[in-house]
Symmetry: C2
Subunit: 171 residues, 2 copies
DNA sequence: AAAAATGTTTACAAAATAGTAAAGTATTTG
DNA sequence: CAAATACTTTACTATTTTGTAAACATTTTT
């Protein structure tokens, strides 16, 4: 489970454009140099971002790329999804249930419960951070779990529990 | 950003052994059949889990694998780390700062702030869920953010904020 | 209109991951 | 001790991801 190269560089390139503002413009060559990646790779990256509607391109001699929305209106979930697809798609079970016809953990699938929960958890984090947050250093730091109740007794393993997570913006 | 195949199947195989209990034993062939994967692939998978100390192997005619600790004492962070490495290692910046000598976003790196925060966030989730939690369907569901304060004014972008995240165990 | 600058597309090469195959080592059973 | 069973290791193939290259299309400038 890792951040892919495309995701990492995509965020960086988008931030570079975001700092230029919606009106500003930068060429592929400029972005590539600034981020230290090759021009062809930057081309590929920016094409993906353009098709996702995150940046706008102008061709021709005085062309270039600009960010298509204000940084505060672009969150990381949209960016990551554009660059690396969803964290967990519909085909996940079909793909990872092995070679059996139907998922062996059919019905109440415990693995899906925890991995689906993880995906939702991550999505929440990503959706909560905009490009503007990142630029201003105002991002969600990792959750610090306090008031973590002890595990429920074995005799009643399905008791619902609440636990408060204290998040703090770092700056 | 995805769950890798090794991680997915590794969790499943480990769960299969966990359901057998610390005393129980299962052969590669049995596990492979149960999970619908090939015997060679299950071999590779279980070898990784053994080297990580998560399962114990007994050779010979009446050999097989067993889980080396109680399910309540094995959390997902350990499993995921064993199967797919850490979410973000020390070389991350070196690897993804492009071809420049030093990271272009040196010092106060905004990208690292948000991605490091994400990694910590995910680690917290994984560390909070044990194999026993998964087996009993007692896993953390995705965070549902309530009391989300509005963004700070542009004039004071670095104001710290707290936001309460309500997590709920599903069952 | 020609040339230069710039984005677009397609194809290809390299590296990492996923999955398979086979030969080897250890233990039990008769 | 010999054969059967089961884990171990190494090597290999296939697929996906990463990154590069080159030809193409569009706009501006002269």
């Amino acid at each position: 489970m890792r951040i892919s190269a495309l995701e990492e560089y995509g965020i960086r390139c988008l931030l570079a454009l975001a700092e230029n503002g919606v009106r500003g413009q930068a060429s592929i060559a400029e972005i590539a140099e600034r981020e230290g990646i090759s021009v062809p790779y930057a081309s590929k990256l920016l094409a993906i971002l353009r098709k996702a509607g995150l940046v706008a391109a102008v061709r021709g001699r005085s062309g270039g790329f600009s960010i298509s929305r204000e940084p505060k209106d672009i969150n990381l979930l949209e960016v990551i999804t554009a660059l690396g697809g969803p964290l967990m798609d519909e085909e996940h079970c079909q793909k990872y249930s092995g070679q059996l016809e139907e998922c062996i953990h059919t019905g109440d699938c415990s693995v899906m419960n925890v991995l689906g929960g993880l995906a939702g958890y991550i999505s929440d984090y990503l959706a909560s951070n905009t490009l503007e947050d990142i630029m201003s250093g105002n991002v969600l730091n990792q959750a610090k779990q306090v008031n973590m109740n002890e595990k429920p007794a074995e005799s009643s393993p399905r008791v619902d529990r609440n636990l408060t997570v204290l998040n703090k913006r770092i700056g």
